[in-house]
Symmetry: C2
Subunit: 293 residues, 2 copies
C-alpha cells in the first residue's frame, strides 16, 4: 500500500515537473536575470504538494490531468513567489530554502522582489488564458486568486509579520496565521478540481483541504524543532531563535503531535464520506504525517 | 479650449476617485495594517493619468463609464503596487512619494512588500470577476496582466535595476526601460477600451498609447532636473545623484525637450486619423507636455 503510494506520488511529481519544465522553457526575459531568478527558485524542487493534491483530487473526480495542469503550474508559481518574498531580509530573513541559498542571497533583494512579482503576475497571465474555456475555469482561477490574496495567504503573512515578536503565544492568532498563510493555498488545491467538476464534493473537499493544510503546517513546526537541515533543506531552530509563534511554542512537541493525530483522523473521516476512489488521498494524509517519522 | 479640458479632466478625476473610494471602502483586512498600508499609498492621490486615459478613450469609442471602471481601478491598484515596490530600499530607495513619506517609511519594508503584493493580487481578483461577462472582458483583463508582467512593466523595472550604475548611457537600454517600465501600463490604458469595443482603432490606439507613455516618461525625467519638490512631490535631482540613466543624461535638457515636441506631434498625427471625438485626447497630449511649463 505504502509502496504503491510512493510510486503514484513519484509518477504525479514527475508528470508535473515535466509539464512545468515545458512551461518554463518558453520563458525568456530581457534582462535575462529576471527569468533566471524566477526559474532558480521554482526549480529548487520540493514535494510539489499543492500540484500533487490537485492532480490527486482531480483523479478522484474524474478530471483529465491536462485540464488540471495550468492551475497546478499557476499554484506552484504563486507558492514560489510567496517563499521568495517571505525569505527577504525585511520579512523572515531566511538565508536558505530547500538546502540552497535563498533567492535574495543569490540575486540580491531588489531582483528577489521582482522575481516574486514576476512569478505572481505570470501565474495570473496563465490563468486569464484559461478563462476563455468557460465559466468554471474562471471560477477556478478566481478561487486561486482569492486564496492567495488579502483575505487569504497575504493576510496570513501580514499577521505572521505583525506577531513575530509577541511575548505571549495566542491560540487565535496562531490559528489565523495557519489557516491563511499556509492553509488557503492547500485548501484551494483541493477545491480547484471540484470547481472544474461543477462543484462535486465541494464542501467536503474544502474541509479536507483546510485540515490537510493545518496538518502540513503542524508537521512543519515540529520539524523546525526536531528535524535536521539535511532533511528539511532550511535552517533549523529558527522559529524559536526569532521568538516566532508556532504550534510548538503554544502546545509543546507532544501536544502538537497529538493534534497531528486528531486532525489526521478528521481527514480520514471526511474521505470516508466520499463515494469515489480516494485511496491516494488517504495516502497523502499519511504522507504528511510521516514527515515526523 | 484649455479651460474646457481642465474641467473635463477634473470631472473624470472626481468620477474615478469616487468609484475608487467606494471600492476601497469594502476592503477591511485582518490585520488592519495590511489594508491600511494598501490604502495609504493608493489614496496619496496623483493625476490618475491611466484611469483618465481609459475613460477618455472609452468616451471616444462610445463605451459606458461603468464598464471601464473595474479596469481603471485595477490599473491604478497595479500602478500603486509598482510604486511601493520601486520605492523599497533595495530598489530605488525613495523616501518620498507624492510629497508624503513612501510606504516603507511609514509601515516598514516588510509591510510595504505585502502592501504591494496585496494590491497586485486584489487587482486580478477584481479582473477575474469581470471575466464572467464575456470574452472581450477576459481579453482586456489579460491585456492588463501581460502589460504589467515579465514582458512589460516588470521587465522594465528589472532593466532599470540592472543598469542603475552603468557608466555610459545607452539609448537602446533607455528606450527599453521607458517602453516597458512606464510605457506598457499607459499603452494598456489606451487599448483596454478598444478591446472592450471589439478592437475598434486597436492599432492606432496602441501607437498613441505607446507615444503618450514615452512623452510622460520624458517630461518626468526633465522635471527631475528642472522641477521642484512642491510641484512634483518627490525628491528632485535624485536620478543624477544616483547616476541613473535618463533621457536628460543621454540627450541633455534641450535634446529631451525637442523629443517631447516631436513625439507630441506624432500623437496629434495619430489622433488626426481617428473618426470620432478625440478632442479630449488632444488635450491629454498637451496636458502631459504642459507639465514642463
Amino acid at each position: 500500500m505504502i509502496e504503491d503510494f510512493n510510486e503514484r506520488y513519484s509518477e504525479l511529481l514527475n508528470y508535473f515537473n515535466a509539464r512545468l519544465g515545458e512551461y518554463l522553457k518558453d520563458i525568456e526575459t530581457q534582462p535575462s536575470v529576471l527569468g533566471e531568478s524566477m526559474k532558480y527558485s521554482i526549480l529548487l524542487g520540493g514535494k510539489r504538494i499543492r500540484p500533487v493534491i490537485m492532480y490527486a483530487v482531480g483523479q478522484a473526480l474524474g478530471i483529465e490531468r491536462e485540464l488540471i495542469t495550468p492551475y497546478a503550474i499557476a499554484m506552484e508559481l504563486i507558492h514560489t513567489y510567496s517563499l521568495i518574498h517571505d525569505d527577504l531580509p525585511e520579512m523572515d530573513n531566511d538565508d536558505f530554502r530547500r538546502g540552497k541559498p535563498s533567492n535574495h542571497k543569490v540575486f540580491g533583494a531588489g531582483n528577489a522582489v521582482l522575481a516574486g512579482d514576476g512569478l505572481l503576475n505570470t501565474a495570473y497571465s496563465l490563468l486569464f488564458g484559461e478563462c476563455f474555456k468557460g465559466s468554471e475555469n474562471i471560477s477556478a482561477a478566481k478561487f486561486i486568486c482569492d486564496a492567495a490574496g488579502i483575505y487569504g495567504m497575504i493576510a496570513g503573512q501580514s499577521a505572521d509579520l505583525l506577531h513575530e515578536n509577541d511575548s505571549e503565544p495566542d491560540e487565535n492568532v496562531l490559528n489565523y496565521i495557519y489557516e491563511n498563510k499556509t492553509g488557503k493555498l492547500i485548501m484551494a488545491s483541493a477545491i480547484v478540481p471540484s470547481v472544474l467538476a461543477s462543484g462535486k464534493y465541494y464542501s467536503e473537499l474544502k474541509e479536507f483541504g483546510r485540515r490537510l493544510g493545518l496538518l502540513f503546517q503542524l508537521t512543519d513546526d515540529i520539524l523546525d524543532v526536531c528535524g535536521d537541515f539535511s532533511n528539511l533543506g532550511k535552517s533549523i531552530g529558527k522559529d524559536k531563535a526569532e521568538g516566532k509563534l508556532t504550534a510548538v511554542s503554544l502546545y509543546g512537541i507532544d501536544g502538537s503531535k497529538l493534534r497531528v493525530d486528531i486532525i489526521g483522523d478528521d481527514c480520514y473521516t471526511i474521505l470516508d464520506g466520499l463515494d469515489c476512489d480516494v485511496s491516494f488521498l488517504y495516502g497523502l494524509v499519511d504522507f504528511v504525517k510521516s514527515r515526523l517519522r
